[in-house]
Point group: C2
Chain length 590, copies 2
């Protein structure tokens, strides 16, 4: 007994009208609204045990979210409180719309560095508007079911982009790590150039503290190896210290800075300085702004950000969906739902001056390891951030920039994927070329340009290979003449039309007299009208030179496409179970 | 006995270095130089009989080339002598570098209308520079073997573009046909709008002459039906009159205009007016120019023309190669050679103030029908044009614009392809969508934007279909549990990775307990590393939920790609001639 389930999208195409209708109905039904609001599924079953587990996980994540938030605000070139603002709303919004319990939405290193350019060249308002627009675009892509677009970003491109982003972020932090003066640069090459140029302005205490931070972080990370939440008390403590290492090094930095200030009556370390205290005002994102003496309208602002800013929502979706998949544990991820949730997080966030946010891999992993049970965990992370904004901003004054630089640079080590290069070298030089190109453009021109270049190079390779299908010509020598058989593949697209034409011509030119050219369509299921018209025209050309051509085993659709162009060819279409039979058929016909 | 010739580009890929080397060697060898200079092949065999036939054909073509040249200069908005200048050099250059004896290089309606925008908004210098740049780009594309790029323009896009171009050209001529005042417009919608707005300024004599011209042209065309060069004298005369119909209507127009002037002592018809007399000065193309009070440097000029001007060389190549194929009579067309010839024709032409030129379908067909024997025919066309430039420019003064408008509009009738719409409606709604989009954008935004939109829409469909391969899932119910078999296709590209992943997950979710999921790789020959990593990760996910997964009949390359990512999967790879055997294998392993 055998049943066949078919997921074909070619053989039974929906009409476009029906698709639009379905898509519309899907968007608006009650069932869909329920599906789009996952909270309706888990809230009724919520209880005290789950609550306690969520609180513990939420606070653990908060201890990382605060120093990371400050650090990523610094990466974006923003004042530190922006990092905290950005961590505020994600948890609350994701609570309602998020489907994956582990995901923590907030600022990430990559999005921050993509935002940095606008902040450095214009103002913080651009970062907030970027968050709003990122939200609008991901929301719209979710509603319109356009999530499949991220499938066109291949692993080599993602990997090259991530590696380059890590290198750029680390390179931009060298300035703070060494306490240099001057600017850091919009892309890796520029940052390294500026670093080399300014290295003479290096201070003493900043690099000492920065490198100490890095060493401590590495030690603390190793400390937690092999320890878990459910081990004995000593191991549990080691596990927790290791998880809270980011908070610990920042706290150590603060203590060092404070002691140095009290003992030396000066500030030998470069500090974060004054932080806007308290909660942000709730207000619409800045749809116009003033930079220097110039007023930018909404149109000016979007024009300034340029078409390359489409990379922001794309990367945000990519990060979020990839993380959702990593933590989905075999359940299918509804990318549409994730995009809508992400869009709302960004749009709502932009009302409290958030920069662009997305799922954070580090904090999501930490959330998972801390045993979070529902998306409610994010709420407690948010509450902890509110507490920090209310009470701790005067303490944050003493955070040394070198500590943050150490923290950021250490986090970047794990983002670089070294293993992909030898692997691609072994299996695919083409993909190695793609990743190399992506990285070079990312490092030397800018991250946005790199990822877009990678996508285009990939698509170009794909289109080119579609234009050169594999046709394995076979010649059978018979008594009455040769049979030259050209088996067509399953699918021929318009760009392969010319190749098929020239392959047939080439085959005919190598043929001896009285050969029969057999165009074997047994596998052919799809062809464009461009291919059909090339087939018909080449056969017409060959006829002039009295080559005999036969279309073997074309199905009726394919046959009709050709006959529509030249009804006289009806006798050329032959069905035969064996190519050799064609000889008999053609002899009988002749 | 059977021999296999393989044209595969996938299975035995050349290394990139070797390809570059080959391409370099190919470009520089003596054999290649000979191949690139087709004159070396036919000139040694040239003789008196061939010469006479070439002279007759060349002069016949010249009789069409002169009125068409003037008409297309008018289409481009240039002074009429530009059309004659443009017809000058093509024949001489193509003599040396052209491979197809019939092709006549000169101004064409489509290229002229693409140039019109620059002439209307700036100056004639832009048309000459456009010719030079078109030449440089086609030459470079020829040398770099990039001719395959035009294969990515499908028949629906070409057809939509040609139809729109014809409509635009005809619409732009309505102004001259009715003798209206005002401007004509840069694209169809604009021209029609301007026509409607200015219709009240219509004159009497211009439309009368214009419509008469159209009627006479149609009658003269019908007159030649069924007559040929080798018929009896009467039919031969009808054939010749029919071929020379363009020259005849222009001559009639001149006579009418002259008589009207002499009898009424005024100029009731709008005439072409003064034409620059004599041969053009040989000088470099204008690398800087002055428009109004502004000086444009070379950089300014290219920036003004913008990236969309890449459409000019693309269309020029497309026209030329398509015509070469139509007249190649079963011989393979060397697109590279045609592009180099075309590039040189344009570059050399720009030194005598030519606008962009390419192969002309009408005149090539005429050349063929007139029995041309070698590319030498073009020389005599060129000589006739020189004669016209030297002696006839004072006569050309009297050419009525309405005659030319009638001539142009009549030529456009045959450019519109009506049959493609019902055909595509029957065989492919997708391609119907492509042609409709192309036409709409062409008519309402501009021809360049339309063709580029068509190319992008086509590529998007192609990429999308590659991302959704056909996987026909089969479930075999056995005693020890179900077998769910997913046969993978021949090729899986990165963009299909996510689809394959979710198809496998979907299949696993519908499965009953103890089912074995069989990923059947018997057909799989190529996959990207993105696909491999998705395969490995989905299997890992499924394992967590104790689904049993087997990779059946993967070849060693495909197997190694997966094992590189997770060596522990070695036991999951199974070879079996029948899927049912898998049940035994897996039972034995368990």
């Amino acid at each position: 007994m055998s049943t066949a389930i078919s997921f074909d999208t070619h053989n039974k195409p929906q009409t476009i009208r029906r698709r639009i209708k379905n898509s519309f109905t899907n968007t608006c039904s009650v069932k869909t609204v329920k599906k789009r609001l996952p909270i309706t599924q888990w809230l009724p079953k919520y209880n005290g045990t789950l609550l306690i587990q969520d609180i513990i996980a939420g606070i653990t994540v908060g201890l990382t979210a605060i120093p990371q938030g400050i650090a990523y605000a610094v990466v974006a070139g923003l004042s530190p409180e922006y990092g905290l603002y950005s961590g505020l709303m994600g948890g609350f919004v994701y609570l309602f719309f998020g489907s994956c319990k582990d995901i923590t939405v907030g600022p990430t290193a990559v999005l921050s560095t993509l935002t940095a350019k606008y902040v450095a060249n214009y103002s913080a308002d651009f970062a907030v508007l970027a968050a709003f627009l990122t939200g609008v675009v991901s929301f719209a892509m979710g509603i319109l079911n356009l999530g499949f677009l991220v499938e066109f970003i291949s692993t080599p491109v993602i990997s090259g982009f991530t590696t380059s982003a890590a290198m750029q972020i680390a390179a931009a932090q060298l300035k703070s790590l060494f306490g240099l003066s001057g600017s850091s640069g919009n892309f890796f090459a520029e940052s390294m150039y500026n670093f080399a140029r300014n290295i003479k302005t290096a201070k003493l205490w900043d690099p000492v503290l920065g490198f100490s931070t890095i060493i401590i972080l590495i030690i603390l990370k190793k400390l937690g190896n092999g320890c878990g939440r459910n081990d004995n008390l000593q191991k549990q403590l080691r596990w927790f210290v290791s998880l809270a290492r980011n908070a610990i090094v920042v706290l150590l930095g603060i203590i060092v800075a404070y002691i140095l200030k009290v003992t030396t009556f000066s500030e030998p370390l470069i500090l974060i300085g004054d932080i806007g205290s308290g909660l942000p005002k709730v207000q619409p994102p800045p749809f116009s702004t003033v930079v220097g003496n110039e007023t930018y309208s909404f149109g000016d602002m979007t024009r300034t950000m340029g078409p390359e800013s489409i990379v922001l929502p794309l990367v945000a979706i990519l990060e979020s969906v990839a993380i959702a998949k990593a933590f989905s544990e075999g359940v299918r991820v509804d990318a549409t739902r994730e995009m809508i949730a992400l869009g709302l997080c960004n749009m709502v966030g932009s009302f409290v001056r958030s920069m662009p946010v997305t799922g954070s891999f580090t904090r999501t992993a930490l959330n998972h390891a801390s045993g979070v049970q529902t998306p409610a965990g994010g709420v407690f992370t948010g509450l902890l951030i509110i507490l920090a904004l209310s009470l701790l901003t005067s303490t944050f004054y003493y955070i040394p920039k070198a500590s943050l630089a150490g923290l950021i640079i250490t986090a970047m080590f794990s983002m670089i994927d070294y293993t992909i290069f030898p692997r691609l070298w072994k299996v695919s030089k083409k993909e190695l070329f793609v990743i190399t190109t992506t990285i070079l453009v990312c490092l030397c021109v800018g991250l946005e340009y790199g990822i877009v270049t990678g996508i285009i190079v990939d698509a170009a390779f794909l289109l080119y290979s579609t234009a050169r299908p594999f046709i394995d010509i076979e010649t059978i020598t018979g008594e009455k003449g040769d049979l030259i058989i050209l088996p067509l593949p399953v699918k021929l697209s318009y760009c392969a039309a010319e190749y098929v034409r020239s392959t047939i011509l080439k085959a005919s030119q190598t043929a001896v007299m009285d050969s029969i050219i057999v165009i074997d369509g047994i596998n052919l299921r799809h062809m464009d009208s461009t291919v059909a018209s090339n087939l018909v025209s080449v056969v017409k050309d060959l006829e002039k030179y009295s080559h005999k051509v036969i279309f073997l085993n074309f199905n009726s659709d394919m046959k009709n496409m050709c006959l529509d162009l030249n009804p006289k060819f009806i006798n050329k279409f032959v069905m035969a179970s064996n190519a050799i039979d064609v000889l008999d058929v053609s002899t009988r016909n002749a």
